[in-house]
Symmetry: C2
Subunit: 224 residues, 2 copies
DNA sequence: GGTTAAAATTAGTCTAACCTAAATTAGCTT
DNA sequence: AAGCTAATTTAGGTTAGACTAATTTTAACC
């Protein structure tokens, strides 16, 4: 447990954390799909991660995995680095928010504790990354924000965007162009019954955007 | 040649460059020693690097290796990243010059072309790293400074330090404490005949330091 | 309760990079 | 010229982490 985990294992644990953070287990096929690795390889790795001392996941055949406490801490450690890097690249090196995820996916594995703390300090100990995701603090405590998916907001209600999906650069460029970034005030104007498409008013610009249900499910709002 | 080389290979090429930059070839045992890898493994890798398309080294059994042009460019690319990172950590994140080599040894492999150019710009396109080593420019052109080793300076002569050894943190902390950094003005007061130990006057502080011949051989001076 | 499709696992390979032990070669000394 | 030693190479093996193909299990449906 003391020695560094391999970059591959770090990515597995991080992904399991992301999949299970809203409850439940991570399945072999979910991991295979999102990590871009064959299901057979994932099974292999999950069995290995469940047999380490201490184990990082609890694994039962055909039942998917959950993180153990050791696994959760390892995942939060790398998640903290990932999000600090994203924030740093935007704040200090002029990156746009669609460029940072890919960079952070690599750099997170090359970051020493010293670099982590220097970057944290240089940013003034930030609590959220450019996409609105919370950054675990140095003790790996993570703030649970209470939010609701845009797709569940009642029609007519006002809200503030707290979080957007962070992986797909195309989506991020689109959202950025619309002004749909964390902190933006919006009002849900309408939701069509048939396909659940939403019309959203962006208060700052007065413009109206159309958001489909799958994207709307990945955007978080705090009601106001 | 287009695809990225592995971190291991990058380190091999960088080390071959460093060893051969003052002419000659790099031997298996030199590489094994300085990379901390067994000689058998080094032989293996050298044979592999000589059989790629294009080859990165010219290898003849028992004769050591030299870099090909492709190998030289690959080495300079990673050396540029290494030195940019070192400079950035010192300038922007408050690192001391003895802490940066180890960090850069890892980060150099995780640096994208975009990050490289952003850091380069943020630093104002620097030409030397914290230890006085030249940073290849974006086209991998590297400036050949004319310098002489401190151990070859004539007694009584004045000079400016241009470069110090960069790997050993202990040595660097000692040099830093003495004020022996690139740019420092010195005068060589004496060299004992028997063991070639040197007495060096640091003009800025007026203090005197004793430098042994092996360290003196790794410190470069431009005569003034 | 049996059929079936999807999901997961097992079995068998592969590559990159390392290792140790054994064999060979180069280069120096007598 | 032969012998010795240090350097190098070869041979054989390991580990991490991936792959494909074949098999097994689950879960849903009739
Ligand atoms: Mn990653
Ligand atoms: Mn993010
Ligand atoms: Mn390196
Ligand atoms: Mn340096």
């Amino acid at each position: 447990m003391t020695q560094e985990l391999s970059p591959n294992i770090q990515d597995y644990l991080k992904r399991i954390y992301e999949i299970t953070s809203s409850g439940g287990k991570a399945s072999t096929s979910q991991l295979a799909e999102t990590l871009g690795i064959s299901a057979a390889s994932v099974t292999n790795m999950l069995q290995k991660l469940s047999k380490t001392q201490p184990p990082y996941v609890t694994y039962q055949k055909h039942q998917g995995v959950k993180l153990t406490e050791a696994g959760r801490l390892a995942a939060l450690k790398i998640l903290r680095r990932h999000r600090l890097i994203e924030h740093y690249l935007v704040q200090k090196l002029g990156y746009t928010w669609d460029e940072v995820h890919q960079e952070a996916e690599i750099l997170e594995h090359a970051m020493s504790p010293l670099l982590e703390s220097r970057i944290d300090a240089a940013l003034g100990y930030p609590t959220v990354d450019p996409h609105g995701d919370p950054i675990p603090d140095a003790d790996l405590a993570i703030s649970g924000v209470d939010h609701i998916a845009l797709s569940r907001l009642a029609v007519g209600k006002h809200g503030t965007i707290t979080r957007v999906p962070h992986e797909d650069p195309q989506v991020l460029r689109y959202l950025g162009k619309c002004g749909l970034h964390p902190g933006a005030q919006i009002q849900l104007l309408a939701r069509t019954p048939y396909d659940q498409t939403m019309r959203v008013l962006i208060l700052e610009s007065g413009e109206e955007v159309v958001i489909g249900p799958s994207l709307g499910g990945q955007i978080d709002i705090s009601e106001t």
